[in-house]
Assembly symmetry: D2
Homo-oligomer: 348 residues x 4
Amino acid sequence: MLIDSTYPKSFASDNHVGVHPVILDAIVAANQGDAPAYGDDHWTSAFERRAKDAFGSEAEAFAVFNGAGANMVGLSLMLGRYDAIICADSAHIATHEAGAAERLLGVKLMTVPTEDGKLRPDDITSRLGGIGNPHESQPTVVSISQVTELGTCYSPDEIAALAQAAHASGLRLHVDGARLANAAAHLDCDLAAITTGVGVDVFSFGGTKNGALGAEAVVVLDPSLARAVPFLRRQSLQLASKMRFVSAQLSSLLTDDLWLKNAAHANAMAQRLADGTANVPGVTLAYPVQSNAVFATLPAEVIAVLRQRYLFHSWDEAAGTVRWMTAFDTTPEHVDDFLDDLRKAASA
Amino acid sequence: MLIDSTYPKSFASDNHVGVHPVILDAIVAANQGDAPAYGDDHWTSAFERRAKDAFGSEAEAFAVFNGAGANMVGLSLMLGRYDAIICADSAHIATHEAGAAERLLGVKLMTVPTEDGKLRPDDITSRLGGIGNPHESQPTVVSISQVTELGTCYSPDEIAALAQAAHASGLRLHVDGARLANAAAHLDCDLAAITTGVGVDVFSFGGTKNGALGAEAVVVLDPSLARAVPFLRRQSLQLASKMRFVSAQLSSLLTDDLWLKNAAHANAMAQRLADGTANVPGVTLAYPVQSNAVFATLPAEVIAVLRQRYLFHSWDEAAGTVRWMTAFDTTPEHVDDFLDDLRKAASA
Amino acid sequence: MLIDSTYPKSFASDNHVGVHPVILDAIVAANQGDAPAYGDDHWTSAFERRAKDAFGSEAEAFAVFNGAGANMVGLSLMLGRYDAIICADSAHIATHEAGAAERLLGVKLMTVPTEDGKLRPDDITSRLGGIGNPHESQPTVVSISQVTELGTCYSPDEIAALAQAAHASGLRLHVDGARLANAAAHLDCDLAAITTGVGVDVFSFGGTKNGALGAEAVVVLDPSLARAVPFLRRQSLQLASKMRFVSAQLSSLLTDDLWLKNAAHANAMAQRLADGTANVPGVTLAYPVQSNAVFATLPAEVIAVLRQRYLFHSWDEAAGTVRWMTAFDTTPEHVDDFLDDLRKAASA
Amino acid sequence: MLIDSTYPKSFASDNHVGVHPVILDAIVAANQGDAPAYGDDHWTSAFERRAKDAFGSEAEAFAVFNGAGANMVGLSLMLGRYDAIICADSAHIATHEAGAAERLLGVKLMTVPTEDGKLRPDDITSRLGGIGNPHESQPTVVSISQVTELGTCYSPDEIAALAQAAHASGLRLHVDGARLANAAAHLDCDLAAITTGVGVDVFSFGGTKNGALGAEAVVVLDPSLARAVPFLRRQSLQLASKMRFVSAQLSSLLTDDLWLKNAAHANAMAQRLADGTANVPGVTLAYPVQSNAVFATLPAEVIAVLRQRYLFHSWDEAAGTVRWMTAFDTTPEHVDDFLDDLRKAASA
């Protein structure tokens, strides 16, 4: 499927968009002369400093290529050979990373059904019955997604409670933060308030869905874990030789709150879209809108008409639930045009 | 170690350089509107077509992030659970990919000592004694590097002979082509003449060391193997979501022979450097110069003086062998300045 | 926990029992002179012939040490790097093999909730939506347990229907037959009727729980798969050097229907136990009794009293469900004594 | 290849022999009534106590099925995801375990050529250059075989020196002790003198080649490592359900010095065989005889004649080196008959 210039704005994913101009400028600006490979360069140092500004002085940040890479490198720091990860059954690591957790890490995913994509402390404690039993995989890490795959967010208190439940039993807390910026924007807090400040051990900070060309970070808050990152990043095929161009993107996002501007705008567009569906007959929201995703349930015929013109993903074929995503470059006009077309389709 | 603007040209690696302006322009040009993620876009289609032009109509090319990623995805197509790879003991997959072959593929590397980084057919046939013995890893793939890690090249005939030896015993031939362009430039042949035309089954085609920001390709010549690439690329953390920006780089290299211009220039600069050492007392070449690398042996004191000003890698500390690399943007002046400094150091 | 001679019969597991005297005699008889290692001996040949008699001439049987080993070797024949196994969420491979499937095979387990431990064809077809999607693990094998972990059995027709559903979509059918003998005894059919005759591709045939000291077989019905067994068995640490002593056990079980006698007796004792609980107040059966396991639900106080004297496992602490198992050497008196004690405890 | 009763004594391997009668009696004696599964039984407790007597009170011993299993479980305790093992290139883990180290552990084997199968401290220190370099596998464990695959032994001092060299750089020392008993017998020391007393961290203690039916132990001397064994043993398919029958064998070997009697006898028979070749023209010893193996080099015609009557392995086809092994049940008559036939063949 190819999109040409006559196609309207995509609502399929925040990775259908291009690169934010400030970030692209930063890439171009980094193309000056030689620089040592593998991160021993000015741009990477700058990124590391900005990460400490954003996440706290204990935060060690490591640039990688993509979200699955950030998850696998981050998780590999905390998992031995007979361990398990407790996560929502909708977690990206469980559903859309092609079995990387099982093959690359060799661990079991103890998946938990949830209503809204969010784990509760009881989901942790109720799954620890096999600890100490050599016939069972040993849960060692709790992994949550912030924003979740259903577009919902954990409050700082909710994360703190999960961290407490995990740590109380010797488990660590990992956050898949492919859309961490959107969560902070929604929660109206800084990035540390949902990571460093509430007991997270390792998390990823996504850039690609928030305007980067391709850049994610693994952030480690426990210094005893950070030592292994360079080795595991290299071995996991996530070490960029010309790293300055990845670091420059992440630095850009962490400068002048670009991460926040982009995420807040995308969130606002999703809210506008959700609000606009309120009076469209037959359309209901499947989950609360707390980020840049709108999950809506609507009749199959309406979906079919809308699809003739717009790109978006089906989420639950049987239920008639679809996902509409906005991005840093979605405009109010894009949303309003989409809503017009939705209304027409719904009333046809 | 950081290089600032007062530093002279780096001779450390072809990944110390930045991005070729034509390739950077292509990245910037790809930033127009939305495009489907994961390769379902115009730029990726264009790259796939250009790869068929360059490597033959049977060539299926897949963009990945980096060289180790290209090697691991390519090799994983041909290896089962109890298999082994025959390769030179200097092979990048054996020495500098942090054990990715062992951990990610789970296979044994049957490493062969060589004089010049190159395998011979007899190196294959002499290592097949364990075939059929369930106590031994089964050799299934021969992997060579073109250019080798010692800067040498295989002629088309040499590759054909290796392919024949491999195929005769049911093994497949893989080429780590991180510097394939430099080899073709040195051999004065097209890219198909050292891949498709001589029996290679799977190879990588490197862009990053030849002027790209970060882009490599896995190229599969056996259609029965290509089916698995999308799955293994995704699982191996090598699938770019905004793939158009990777594909645009590879397309650029395959357009108007940019790959050849860059590589031929880098090779010429290495040759100029090698030639210039001929009359420097105490400096000898360790290997034939057949690409953009010069391996030279010289007194420790001379190395030490040179290091005060230049970046380059030690290759064999004990022997006093160092590696000097050139790139697409190395100029004759860079080389001549370096030679001047070398001469001064050597005669001090 | 140690059992001394004053302890009554264990109802905890069919691996608490010792070795059937005929099998122990066979081990002793195999201790005559030298024999080639690793299976190149008379006893192993005899076992292979008897396996063909029992399972059909196409059956290739391979002796291994234990049940998890038989499962991992058998499954590894059919699974690539990005594959998944569809199985019941109660499956032994999912719950009690310490994550071996994930670590040793590197694959995802797509676990299906069931009422009675048994998969239905619809459980297969409803989980194939991700086939072809490179972001998802690809289901390649359906694995069922016969007897299931809940003591229930699949009829030959039920297995045939699963095989058909699996094969129709290109998947293979694996049977964890740790208690295959008990299933055949319950179903009153021969071993081929629930394996070779109904489309199973690979299965295990358990000896240890049916009177052996420690012996299981991997049986492969698809000749294209059998070639890999010797390599994977060796690599999976399941190749006995003095294999004659393992083969002799399996031969013994397959001679004069010892497998059937042992299993039928154990099943009969479980039925006697189940029947005896019918008129015990407060005790109900949790699952149909179709093998040598009785799952009963009873008050916590009764369980506590019974535990003072007997060994058995809790199955569902919250529900008050326990598992009582019988074995080849459980006698009617053992059962009746147990029932007496149960009645006393229940009426206290 | 099958051996019948008319065949003479095998000189092929110490796993061609059967079970020592005392050990077989112990197995039969363990077949009394019920016992908890997985090691929670009297026989296993007894074995654990005897292991402490033999190896020291800090020694935690765990029974497993076979030698490769003992190696993989033991090594897995000490190796992370990006680690490497330094070992002789003749090491069993490198040559004859079907790539289990690479697949099951995912680590690199840094193999060292040796003259006599023995590592020297300098072999360790000279391979540590890549420590700290994220592009290279990190050496973490030194693994030696005692007896080596060439029949030679390390003295206590030699092991102490290796342990010191390893520990000085943060590596641990593992011993593959499939024939540890033969080494102690040759060195005329107790088992602790070559393990606990000289800095070994983890080792295996082989029973199968010394008269057991099939029983090996993983012995852990560092208590911080022992905690993981139950999990890794289970996951590595090395946990016997009816463990009493494995433990009884190991207990037997550790009672009344049976391990020593068997090993000393086998060694003496090898020495008798080696001595007997002294005056056979054309026959030379390839390695010092320090255990129950004789490596001899002799003319191909002599080998061919001998093979018509005797089973033994070729070691180096080109060099004409063969391996003759003795066992606990090899008699002086067996050896003398063999020597007679050798002399006849050599003088033909």
